[in-house]
């Protein structure tokens, strides 16, 4: 085998591993939300691929030492995607998968919205939209003061981007030249009351972030290779924070959830539907 062939083989293996992890995260999401029969499934499924790339490859973390100093951190600013984060954490071994089925049950460690004091591996409490990105900016400033070389990742919702605080955070991140801050927008074009375009359009999103001083990428949010390559490029960027716009489909991977359109923000899931959903996810060929 030539060097090039070796490299190609390695990269194919990485792709397969990341796709497999994304698949596992989606199955976990179904188990997690299915256990209580209702939840924010749409916006969880739309970020499964980026979570697979972050937890599967890029984040400097150690599941057996979740509070590791100088670790990379992820703030899920769209806090209602908690079940997606839990699904990734369980896949990485932060806690037992059986725990996923305690979602939203009284006394659970897995509440609908992310809570750093309840869930091992969750880096910030979120749920009141707009605040998480500011928290991530605070962490990125903290990392710069400590000079520990860590990266702070944040995922914001497209609907969440209607919050003024997102743009306050953006302005400060660029002003402070936080090139250790990598932000993703889950651009699935849907919010509770309708499409983003119907309710309060955020377009042109790339130009907005660019004008706010970010280096902007816009990619297919379900293409693990594209996400992987873009994060790698982002890490080489200096003096500017990064915005990676993930063009996504709300409910991605389960056809009846995708088909529910704006209705999939939070929707009921019966036991039969869960079985169907998992079959569909697992039927996706990994190539």
């Amino acid at each position: 085998m030539t060097m090039n062939e070796k490299k190609k083989n390695e990269s194919t293996r990485t792709t397969q591993q990341l796709k497999k992890l994304a698949q596992e995260i989606r199955v976990n999401i179904v188990d997690c939300i299915g256990s209580i029969g209702v939840g924010h499934i749409g916006g969880c499924l739309s970020i499964a691929d980026v979570l697979a790339v972050l937890y599967g490859k890029h984040m400097r973390i150690n599941p057996s030492d979740p509070q590791l100093d100088g670790r990379d951190r992820l703030v899920c600013s769209k806090g209602h995607a908690g079940p997606a984060i839990y699904s990734a954490l369980a896949a990485k071994g932060y806690f037992d998968k059986a725990e996923l089925k305690t979602l939203n049950k009284g006394g659970t460690k897995l509440p609908s919205h992310c809570d750093m004091n309840k869930t091992i591996g969750v880096d910030m409490t979120t749920g009141s939209l707009g605040q998480g990105l500011s928290c991530a900016v605070g962490m990125a400033i903290g990392s710069k003061i400590r000079n520990d070389g860590s990266y702070i990742y944040a995922i914001v919702g497209d609907g969440e981007s209607q919050e003024g605080q997102i743009w306050e955070a953006a302005m400060l991140a660029a002003h402070k030249k936080l090139d250790n801050l990598i932000v993703f927008t889950d651009y699935n074009h849907m919010q509770i009351d309708g499409t983003i375009e119907e309710i309060n359009d955020i377009a042109p999103l790339d130009k907005k972030w660019s004008a706010f001083g970010f280096r902007v990428f816009s990619i297919d949010g379900h293409d693990v290779d594209a996400i992987d390559a873009t994060i790698s490029r982002a890490k080489k960027s200096t003096a500017k924070p990064i915005m990676i716009i993930l063009n996504t489909i709300k409910g991605k991977g389960i056809s009846f959830v995708e088909g529910a359109k704006v209705g999939c923000h939070s929707m009921p899931l019966s036991a039969e539907q869960c079985e169907l959903a998992k079959k569909e996810i697992l039927a996706q060929a990994i190539i």
């Binding site: 409490t125 009141s128 928290c135 903290g142 306050e168």
Partner: protein
């Protein structure tokens, strides 16, 4: 350099000196400002320690959540703005990013109540205590004077959890003698004058007014006990109830709306523990307005004479 008596210092300088000491001696404290570093005096430190003093510009919501992120990273952030902008304006950020997330952030709100003077109604917080008092875990502290504030600041830092401080910026009325070795406990109220007929419970600039009222009452043979209650949440129930068991009548005095502030806190404690008649001095369901302190004290009935009247009145209900 000539030594400056504490009582002659601007209260803000005590705050800034404390932060300077912490930045120099440790790696945890950071200070955040939202374009009022000139007003707090923090501007000098911002130039001295650009990494540790972070100015977010006029974006208080962002400042609060950025501070929470810094706290999650292991820092102890102190955030400052004028009282209303660091409380009611960012109530949800305080609630979620800071308190619910259990982040160790200290909140400094300057110019409490009528001390906002010429900035007027928009900048004059009469509701900040009320807004924050229903949030679990947060401490609410209003310094009595410079001597106390200087000794309490290290305790605020040592306390793990959010603390809101209603900080006067200028030279406050002096209550304690700095040459006496007075000790203070963040969680305790203090009997600063003993009496037997009525207990006056006061905070902030109203403590000095209460002492003056007690003297006036003495002249008409009414013996007033005065309690300085800088800690409004959690209220020092023990000290207050102990005094009321002796005097059996209460007057509260505060530079805040009586609805939601010290009067409310004291009433709750009295009703549950030892019901006695109570009258209050404070802002009574009014918005702020512009003016110098002397005018505002009269406009909102916050003078010693108002405390005296309330004490006389409450005695008739005993």
């Amino acid at each position: 350099m000539k030594y400056q008596m504490l009582k002659d210092m601007l209260m803000r300088d005590i705050y800034v000196d404390f932060i300077r000491e912490q930045i120099k001696s440790g790696d945890k404290v950071v200070a955040l400002e939202a374009d009022l570093a000139k007003c707090s005096g923090m501007i000098a430190l911002q130039k001295e320690f650009p990494d540790r003093v972070i100015n977010t510009g006029i974006a208080e919501q962002n400042m609060a959540s950025v501070a929470a992120g810094l706290a999650a990273y292991g820092f102890i952030p102190f955030i400052h703005s004028f009282g209303p902008f660091v409380t009611r304006r960012i109530c949800d950020q305080i609630m979620i990013s800071i308190c619910y997330a259990k982040q160790n952030v200290k909140i400094i709100g300057s110019d409490p109540g009528i001390t906002a003077e010429l900035n007027g109604g928009t900048h004059m917080p009469f509701e900040d205590i009320g807004v924050l008092r229903s949030i679990p875990d947060i401490l609410i502290y209003e310094p009595t004077d410079n001597v106390e504030f200087k000794k309490i600041l290290p305790q605020i830092l040592a306390h793990v959890g959010p603390v809101y401080v209603r900080m006067y910026r200028k030279v406050p009325p002096s209550v304690y003698d700095e040459n006496k070795d007075e000790t203070f406990n963040l969680f305790k109220a203090k009997v600063i004058r003993e009496g037997s007929d009525v207990t006056i419970i006061a905070s902030g600039i109203m403590v000095a007014e209460s002492l003056e009222a007690a003297k006036m009452l003495e002249a008409i043979n009414i013996s007033a006990e005065v309690i300085a209650s800088p800690i409004i949440k959690p209220l020092d129930t023990e000290t207050i109830i102990k005094s009321l068991k002796k005097t059996k009548a209460a007057v509260t005095a505060e530079n805040h709306n009586v609805c939601g502030g010290l009067r409310s806190a004291v009433s709750e404690v009295i009703v549950e523990n030892y019901p006695v008649p109570l009258r209050c001095v404070g802002v009574k369901e009014k918005f702020g307005e512009v003016g110098k302190q002397a005018y505002l004290k009269t406009a909102f009935s916050l003078n010693a004479i108002d405390i005296m009247s309330a004490a006389k009145e409450v005695l008739t209900n005993k």
